[in-house]
Each structure stands twice: as structure tokens, then as C-alpha cells.
Assembly symmetry: C2
Homo-oligomer: 217 residues x 2
């Protein structure tokens, strides 16, 4: 993990440095709080950005997908990627449009992908991806069998070049705008779950598992 | 806008074609429903993916930022970018982890950026970005002045190479997993607003504007 004094050029936040963080704890916390990430790959005809699920163990991000996926094929051979996870926390409505903004947390990780082939690391990676979305599900649902394992590509990206940006404060208006009769403030935003929709094939009365409580509260 | 019969190679969805859409209406609807997008740029040392606000007018996406931003500087000179907007709609909990998934809508747009310099187009673009987040705010808040305009870079990306992916159905389990005693179904997810937090400098009793109702209902 790079520290402020040793941050690599591409990981350094140049704009709005008051929002920048480089410490491991902050970057891990943002990655863990984001449900999905967006992965960037440079292709011959330009960049490609795809949304995907992911998991984290210590300083490693794990991505998975079908062995038939072209992007996974590229990543399995070792590709430079950028993994960005963003959480939108609120609308920041200043009295001027220029000073209006968003509250957000984002983590940007740069690295080269590595194919994960070791059976134990693959198992840990798939479990980390499952736990990232919904802790408790891995133990409850049916775990991957041999056929499914053969269809799943897993790649790792080490979190050693990374930065985070956080904006988590109120409006910053120009003094001369304070007298405008415009409402100003922050509208907090968060991703919440609605009522679970049981599969029609479930026996009537099958209870929603307790590990969903974190999403449903 | 590319049609299925004339989709460019980089815009064609190769994996899970049953989730792919190429029609203008679907791509516009996803862009309009997403609060932010993730923009990918290929740099010499690898790809970069940054979250950002955006607006859309017809077949054009507008991005803005500070003229001091290095990424905006790159985009102002004309860069190949990939703009991806993703909305997470739910957790799809199948009885097996392999068949578990997410419900989501994502739009991926490829194009070359064009700097927006025409004052009228700049005005329309900034308004589109404001309207994208919160219709009604543009008319209420103070609009950009000359100094602020000079500090703002705006770039356009035409939506003519684009694709969308949508998954919006229930679980698809293996027949042999149906008898497992595991809860299965969809947990819908959505981004909602909490109680607005007024700026401490507001005169007491300043009412929350009615155009926030869409977020607060």
C-alpha cells in the first residue's frame, strides 16, 4: 500500500487534494462498503469499463466471471486494470450551481491482473466475493461443484497502487450567495433493500434467512 | 445509434446476449436513470476509471469538471473514452452460489470526446447535468457567472457506439437444486434519499423545495 510520501504518480490525486486519502484502512473500508466496482481495461480500440461484483481479502481484490468472457480472458493473461468502487452518499445543494456537488466515497486501484489457479485461493476468492455481497450466504447456499468451478475464471489485483477520495461535508457557498433565498443543504442518499421477492418454487412459509437482516433493517 | 445488425465490434455484447440491448430508447433510459457514470480513459501507464456526474441531450453525453483537472485536459484534446452507467436493482439469490447474480441495468458508450466551447451549447450542457441530478434546481439556484464559466471544462461524447445490458428476472436454478431447503429469490435494491440536512446558514423555516419530492417520496 502506497503512503502519501511514496504514492505512485498514477495513484496520486491531483485535483481537490483535501478529498484525497492513501491509507490502507480508508481504501479497504470504501471497497468493502461498495456493492459493485467498475473495472477499466485498455483495449486496442480504446478503454472499456465494465461493472462487476468483487471481493477483497487483505490487500487483494478478486474478480470472477465466465471462462468464456473475452474480458476475463484478457485479464487472465495479465492486464493492467483500474478498479474503481464508488459510493454515492448525498446531493450537496449549494446556493450556486457551481458550488453544488455530491458527497461520495471512491477508491481507485491500479494493478496488473493475475489469474488465480490454486484451488485453495480460488475457494477463498469465491467465498470473499459471496461474503462481500451477503455474509452468511456462502454457508447456506450450495457451493460450486467441479463443473461450475471449471466454468469460472478468477483473477486477482493487488491493492498496492491506490487512492481514495471522500467528500462528506456540507455546502461551501460564496459569502455573497448566502443572502440568496435558495434552500441549501445536503440530501443524504443510500442504497436500501425492498421487500424480498421469494422464488415461486419455494415451499410456502420458507422463511427469509436472518443474514438478510443487514440489508432489510 | 448502432442497431443489432450494424453494431460496432467493441459495442457488441458477447457474453450473455439475452441481456443485451442496442436500441436508443433503452440506452437513453438507463443513462437517465443512473445518478453518476464511470468514465474510462487509456493512459500510457494503463487505464483510469473515474466516477463523475453527467448529463444527456438526445444522443450526446456531457461531462464537466475543472479546467485544472488533468483528466479533463486529456479529454478536451479529444480522447477515446468509455462511459459506463450502472444501476443496481437487486440481489438475485439462487439456491446455488453459481447461479446467484444481480439484477442491474448498465449502458456502455464508446466515443471520442469533443471539447464544448460554444457558449449556447455550454449553457445547455451545464443545464442538462443539473437537470440530470435534480430537475428544477437550475431555475432555483444561482446559475454560473463568467468567472465560474471560465473555470469549467465541458466535453461531449456522442452516443453512437453503445450497448446496454439488463438483467431483471428471478432466479434460474438447476432443477436438481430446487429441493434444497435454501431460501431463494430477489432482494430489490434502490437508492433512496434520507431527511434533507439544511445548511446551518439558512434562515429558520426555509422550506425544502418541492422539486426534491421526486427524491423524497
Amino acid at each position: 500500500m502506497s503512503r502519501p510520501d511514496g504514492v505512485s504518480p498514477r495513484a496520486r490525486v491531483r485535483r481537490l487534494p483535501e478529498r484525497a486519502h492513501y491509507d490502507r484502512e480508508t481504501i479497504h473500508a470504501i471497497l468493502d462498503a461498495a456493492l459493485i466496482c467498475h473495472v477499466g481495461i485498455s483495449r486496442e480500440d480504446g478503454p472499456l469499463v465494465v461493472p462487476t461484483l468483487f471481493g477483497r481479502i487483505d490487500d487483494t481484490i478478486y474478480l470472477h466471471g465466465s471462462v468464456a468472457s473475452g474480458n476475463l480472458r484478457t485479464m487472465r493473461t495479465g492486464a493492467e486494470v483500474c478498479v474503481t468502487a464508488t459510493i454515492v452518499d448525498g446531493l450537496v445543494l449549494a446556493r450556486s450551481l457551481f458550488n453544488s456537488s455530491m458527497n461520495y466515497r471512491s477508491a481507485v486501484v491500479f494493478g496488473r491482473t493475475r489469474q488465480v489457479t490454486d484451488p485453495e485461493e480460488r475457494d477463498r476468492a469465491l467465498r470473499a466475493i459471496s461474503d462481500h455481497i451477503l455474509p452468511g450466504r456462502w454457508e447456506d447456499a450450495r457451493q460450486p461443484n467441479r463443473t461450475e468451478d471449471l466454468q469460472t475464471a478468477i483473477v486477482a489485483v493487488d491493492i498496492d497502487e491506490a487512492s481514495a477520495k471522500i467528500r462528506n461535508w456540507g455546502v461551501g457557498d460564496e459569502p455573497e450567495d448566502l443572502a440568496l433565498g435558495v434552500w441549501a443543504g445536503v440530501v443524504p442518499l443510500r442504497l436500501v433493500a425492498g421487500e424480498p421477492e421469494p422464488d415461486p418454487g419455494l415451499p410456502p412459509g420458507t422463511e427469509v434467512p436472518g443474514y438478510l437482516d443487514g440489508w432489510l433493517s
